[in-house]
């Protein structure tokens, strides 16, 4: 008796599930069946591409449109190896075809505005993309007004940042190749927070590795606005001393005030430095579209978010990812972290579209590998758990840390990381 009644109950349950599952099953194919909602993703970098991928992977029938101005993804991580001559642009460039294959509608265009009242994204070509939820993952833009002379067209043409991978990476490499042996490459670093804390020091190592082999009389001058190396300090100091003695010179507390493009001169508080290649990483804020959308409610510079959903604390219905966010404690502005933000957002948006509760205890983690030679790598890692009382992510005490020493095993892990995160975000 009990057995029979259990059986019939199970049958009923199965029948109920089958009916409930019908709309989903109908949507298993690409674009088929009714969508549970329209999400427009602005920006196809580590944050935006991952969000598009995971909305499709986890949401199934979410209508996802990715708006990105460039035809292909070009990675900032690993781009310093291009500057060092150890990788080519083609090694850090990945197609968006994988995302299209899983049903992401890709629009190569520039966003002119997000109308948060009408809930539509407006493109420069006049098209309007309506949304139920919009994800803004714009990365950073530069505060050129903080460095006198830098915004001038002549300066912009000549003094490169190379802090957004793409044409600037290739152009900066060409400047390094054209520089005569015995020249000076000067890299200026803005005050934290900026995109990729260890990135400038990795760049110094990579350029120095190139000079060491091909232009040994040349110098790498690191002009840091910060009071000390901001990430993996001991490991980078050791790399400078072990591998690049006489090539790399590091100067703390050297904030760039202005540049003279005509003479390629960096003007600091107390002295002027003329360089053959002047590489200015300017101070940064959230990307332009975050500002024009009214999302920069933190110091007029970064976007505050609800960490359970990545939804803006300034504008409802808008989710912000990655470097553009006002960071939680000890949370780096990194591609890896943007990917993690995107997964929190994708999971939450799917839940919200279904009228279901969002995950109340999300976790994100970060790993940043930095090359100190073409083969030797150091890492910094951290795990961040959501703290319900403080409504923010906090690093877990006792977890995370850095490499004990630079090593080649992590050199292989770093390249494997790149291969896997690119596949994860771009569905290759």
């Amino acid at each position: 008796m009990a057995h029979a009644s259990n059986l019939s109950r199970r049958r009923l349950l199965h029948a109920g599930l089958a009916v409930a599952a019908l709309p989903l099953a109908g949507c298993a194919g690409l674009g088929g069946g009714p969508s549970i909602g329209r999400v427009v993703v602005v920006g196809g970098g580590y944050g935006g591409a991952t969000a598009a991928r995971y909305l499709r992977l986890w949401g199934g029938n979410v209508d996802v449109t990715l708006v990105e101005r460039y035809a292909s993804f070009v990675s900032c991580p690993i781009s310093n190896l291009v500057l060092g001559g150890h990788k080519q642009m083609s090694d850090i460039t990945v197609s968006y075809a994988g995302l299209e294959a899983i049903g992401v509608k890709r629009v190569q265009a520039e966003v002119v505005a997000i109308d948060v009242q009408a809930r539509e994204v407006r493109l420069t070509d006049g098209r309007k993309l309506p949304y139920d939820r919009v994800i803004v993952s714009p990365g950073v833009d530069f505060m050129l007004d903080q460095v006198a002379g830098l915004a001038a067209p002549a300066a912009q043409e000549k003094i490169l940042h190379g802090w957004k991978a793409g044409p600037q990476t290739a152009a900066l490499r060409r400047q390094l190749e054209a520089m005569p042996d015995g020249g000076v490459y000067a890299l200026t670093i803005p005050k934290a927070p900026y995109r990729c804390p260890p990135g400038p020091y990795e760049r110094a190592c990579m350029v120095a590795s190139y000079f060491k082999q091909y232009k040994p009389r040349s110098k790498v001058l690191v002009l840091d606005a910060n009071p000390e190396i901001t990430s993996k300090k001991g490991l980078f100091e050791k790399a400078f001393a072990d591998h690049y003695k006489g090539i790399v010179e590091y100067r703390a507390n050297n904030e760039l005030k202005s540049v003279d493009a005509a003479t390629n001169t960096a003007k600091l508080e107390f002295d002027d430095v003329r360089a053959d290649v002047l590489n200015v990483v300017p101070p940064q804020r959230a990307g332009d579209i975050a500002r024009t959308t009214g999302l920069l409610n933190m110091n007029n510079r970064w976007a505050g978010v609800n960490w359970l959903t990545m939804e803006s604390t300034a504008v409802p219905g808008v989710h912000v990812l990655g470097d553009a966010t006002f960071s939680a404690p000890a949370m780096p502005k990194s591609g890896h972290m943007a990917n993690q933000h995107a997964k929190v957002a994708a999971a939450a948006i799917i839940q919200v579209l279904k009228g279901a509760p969002v995950n109340a205890a999300p976790v994100v983690m970060n790993t940043c590998y930095s090359f100190v030679t073409a083969l030797d790598v150091v890492h910094v890692a951290s795990v961040h758990q959501y703290d319900a009382a403080e409504k923010t992510f906090k690093p877990v005490p006792g977890s995370g840390g850095v490499s004990t020493a630079a090593n080649q095993v992590e050199g292989r892990y770093a390249l494997s990381w790149a291969q896997n995160i690119w596949a994860d975000m771009l569905a290759t």
């Binding site: 995971y54 995950n359 790993t367 890492h379 795990v383 977890s399 892990y413 494997s416 896997n420 994860d424």
Partner: protein, 103 residues
Amino acid sequence: MTHLLRIAAALLLGAGGAALAQDANLGRNLAATCANCHGTNGQVRGDTVKPLAGVSADKIVAMVNDFKSGAQPATIMHQIAKGYSDDQIRAIAVFFAAQPARK
């Protein structure tokens, strides 16, 4: 404010069936934090990192705990493992165990 209300409403409305769905996503969401190095759904690319998809949950839990305790030396996993609770590691392991290995 509006979005907070909406979330609060969703939490209340979802106290029944949706809460179960939420639990079902717990392992998935946690495992996704590993994907950057270990591949989407643990289906890793390349042969540098060992795949996790399809590996038994007990084996994954044992490996992670060995990293945590230091019994298994590591470059980075000992630091990352300490960021997750035992329950979270179990949920991640159960999720990866249920994933098909990459073709």
